[in-house]
Symmetry: C2
Subunit: 651 residues, 2 copies
Amino acid sequence: MAESWSFLDTFEPNFRPLVVIELAKGTKEETIEWFTKRIVDKKANGGEYSMIFCAQLLVKPLEMENGDEHIYLVGASHLRLLLGAENVGLVKECNDNSMRTFTYSSRKTFKDFADDNHNFLTMAECQYIIKHELENLRAKDEKMIPGYPQAKLYPGKSIVRRLLTSGILVQIFPLHDREELKKLRHSWYGRVKVGYQPLDEIRCYFGETIALYFGFLEYFTFALVPMAVVGIPYYVFAWEDYDKYVMFATFNLLWSTVILEVWKRICAIMTYRWGTLLMKRQFEEPRPGFHGVLGINPVTGREEPVYSSIKRQIRIYLVSLPFVCLCLYFSLYVMMIYFDLEQWALDYHEANESNFSSLMLFVPSIIYAVVIEIMNRIYRYAAEFLTSWENHRLESSYQNHLILKVLVFNFLNCFASLFYIAFVLFDMKLLRQSLATLLITSQILNQFAESLLPYWLQKRHKKKMKKRMCSLKTETDLPLVEQVNLEKEMGAYVGTFDDYLELFLQFGYVSLFSCVYPLAAVFAVLNNITEIYSDALKMCRVYKRPFAEPTANIGVWQLAFETMSVISVVTNCILIGMSPQVNALFTDSKTDLILTVALVEHLLLAIKFIMAFVIPDKPRHIQMKLAKLEFESLEALKQQVRATDTYNSEK
Amino acid sequence: MAESWSFLDTFEPNFRPLVVIELAKGTKEETIEWFTKRIVDKKANGGEYSMIFCAQLLVKPLEMENGDEHIYLVGASHLRLLLGAENVGLVKECNDNSMRTFTYSSRKTFKDFADDNHNFLTMAECQYIIKHELENLRAKDEKMIPGYPQAKLYPGKSIVRRLLTSGILVQIFPLHDREELKKLRHSWYGRVKVGYQPLDEIRCYFGETIALYFGFLEYFTFALVPMAVVGIPYYVFAWEDYDKYVMFATFNLLWSTVILEVWKRICAIMTYRWGTLLMKRQFEEPRPGFHGVLGINPVTGREEPVYSSIKRQIRIYLVSLPFVCLCLYFSLYVMMIYFDLEQWALDYHEANESNFSSLMLFVPSIIYAVVIEIMNRIYRYAAEFLTSWENHRLESSYQNHLILKVLVFNFLNCFASLFYIAFVLFDMKLLRQSLATLLITSQILNQFAESLLPYWLQKRHKKKMKKRMCSLKTETDLPLVEQVNLEKEMGAYVGTFDDYLELFLQFGYVSLFSCVYPLAAVFAVLNNITEIYSDALKMCRVYKRPFAEPTANIGVWQLAFETMSVISVVTNCILIGMSPQVNALFTDSKTDLILTVALVEHLLLAIKFIMAFVIPDKPRHIQMKLAKLEFESLEALKQQVRATDTYNSEK
């Protein structure tokens, strides 16, 4: 890259702002100077390590109305971005339609590449590259951040992370592209149309993680349609024959296995097209919150905080695990109180029937709903605190532990009362009622809290901002200043966690008790159609643009959905076994009934596992392409070894 | 490698024979000349493809008493072997105790490497390298094997494989090293000692696949000891309390999960030490039997036979699958006839009691045992034929399909009668009896048929050979000629399949009905101790030395054992539920009993899955070492890209 780096000039005529850096107001001059210098300075040629002390990006202060300079715009020259794309290991399509890891030296072989085509990298990719470069800016020999002696540094520590944790850096976020966004909005939800979402465009604008979520949401909605279609006649004709219910449940259970397996294939097709399926996992740096005694990382040999794994295990198994169990117990306890209250309200209503008493009938449900919501929130904070306290070194491991904690608790909180009604009270009518109530209210509340409320707040805020801006119409680049000021006040999108969680719980409502309430799938489909629109609105209008995050699959959620589908085999078999129609068939022997149910359940589980085993996770043509790439890289390795040898022997 | 290859001289003063090639008697001169020339010729420098037309090995004809030259010894110079080690991607230990892929240019960094140390590569590794080089000898522009117009060739076809399929090449096998073998025998089973097997030495001599089998056998035996110890008092004191049985079964089920998970860790430790855990998977060539229309392989772009995957799927699902099902049905049918016969013999005995009638009681069992054996053999042939007819491109996929077919059938054949006795006849006493009989007789028969019989045959053959050789004591290199003549007549070791199958069935006997017959583990332990010795004897004395085969785990057997342990949870729960002691506890309600049993079963299964999920497959220190290597390779890649760029820009 020797010549390539020296090509780079720090100033380009056409500076395109990509990322905004907001420093705290009143940040010391020397700090700003040092930081911008590190961002702008040329990378030295030579050792690998010197590459990471300077980013060689472009920085421009955003001139505010009051002359305050605490917001900076970061961009990069086209060449710099291409080199950065190589650094992050971006995979792009070649001229021969195969996907390959981009390298600057082989740039001519890539599709749509031209030295003057600045659209070769999407804006989301450019922003991802800049974020990566900024986060990888490392301290050289500074002991602290200049001007802030309390903000300690050590060689190799990410500067941006230290600036963030010490509050000097308020936020870094990518800018929206007004024009692109408008186009995207139009094709996504702007016109009334029947058809798929523009997933490729969403991916270009928001990155793979978010596009994959919308892809999954869409796929899941389509996958629920057969269930909904099969379920409608049960409701319309009020079918109550046991054989029809068994048919429906069996169809549902096998169908849920099929859709989860097929999703893996569709996901592979999509992420292959996007290049993330092939993207090599980068070496994961410690997460910002990770702390420990400064030591030598045995893997990298670099100086960084180290924290004993045994201590972490102790924290997980001796503190977090008991705490989660306690919370689960407490949640069950609250549920029991709710049922007691319910019973008490019923008794009270029967004893002295009045308007007041019939109103009292609703009180327990309302109290319970509120308490559940409060518990969910408190627990979420506790889970985040505990997982953070467990001090995971990697963000991925932190996320997995957090998701596991939250999932288990949410599962119990949402479904415990249904399980209780179904398998302790044996009240199918109440179960159907509760299920419908829970499903529909949770969907309405979610839609409201997730999108419409923030959208309304955002609109109000925008109006206020506009008013303020109107008074200063004289500035030259007002639109950009206005845009930055608007966007920096927008809420930050916290990731796809809550969206997936919602889908996960919905999947639970649909599949766990599918044979009792076949209509659940219909409501889920209706909800998801509006969900797509409200989520799209949320992404485009309400939140700050998030940084793109390359990803190859939906990760731990695949496992979560699969586990749910296994649990639903068990629940559905029990429900069918308990139904009066089936019981009527086995009048003489209850034992036979239970044995039959157990046998059917085991058979279904076996079929599920065999199906999951037999259906390949990747479609054949993707497998072939991956095999081809692997073969080529093996051949290239052989060639390279030979070439290096020749080169060495020629020396 | 330019200079390296030219270093190589075809003749070395100290030729060490490693591999024997036996051609058919009366093979045409021109064929022999052409074949040996291809083996000996220098590899041309230049394009990758030209590397595979010649092997640059050493060949020497073995002079027989009658002057017949149809057996050839193959060796290679030390340098050639080192270059070959790089070709096959061997992983060796470095001076800093880390494991790295060997390359000739970095040879000095490896432990124990010295230019004159010919023991750097073990003999098994050398033989593996030679086998790899021979198998990779490819046709250049020959249309057929010279002298045999019917043996067609096409560019890129493996010459050795065509020679083998057309019968010109009788066999290729590696030579034993008498001295090493003696040492190995002594430390393995030569002296009476308590201790572990010399697995590292076994691996050096026989390669990783076989060492891993013996490692698993040893580990499995040790893992069974706790079960055996816990099981003995049940037999001695004739414990029949239900709580003790439940305890034993629970212990067994959880224990079997633990041992299977721990094995993965131990396996990772071993294969890391041996280097195979890190060995990159080589690109798999089509298996010898694979045929199809000549076309272009879409993955490699090379000309080779291609066969449509859809055709193969059709053959698998429309022919093989129904056939297997039919066989399973037939096997069940035969079992039912056996039970009828048994009943008839019993009736006959009761009707006219005599010596003849009591003898008649044994007849059904004997007939059934013989029929099972015959069915097993016929089925094995049918399975091999079918799997071969399915025309799998890769050896690994052929093996997987074959193993699956044989496993399912053997499982049913061995356990169907026990299942019938347990869950249809409900006769626990008969079950215990049958289990004991089946287990013990199968063990005795196996030991006899597997090792002692071939050993005896081999000994007889050796004596005959010795007599013949004695008459020609004049030849110079008689010992070598004698050795080759002896070894070429020895049976070929067909792989670890049957050995693993035996262990798998044993695991079934021990775990499926563990709560009925706790003594099974004791017999299994006793059998396995002698099995280690008899298998060792078999490897060292009876069979031809097999080629070493690098492997990182026991492959599909891990899955098979895990599946068996899941099935055994189900069977044990049912057995306990059926026991009269447990039934006595639930006198008033059989329903409660069944529900309790089902609940316990689901809990146990859940615990199993959680345990399998929580226990990491690789120990932490291995994980760290792997992470370190991955980090280093990522860093090296970055460096290399930069270096190549610098090199290109300097040009």
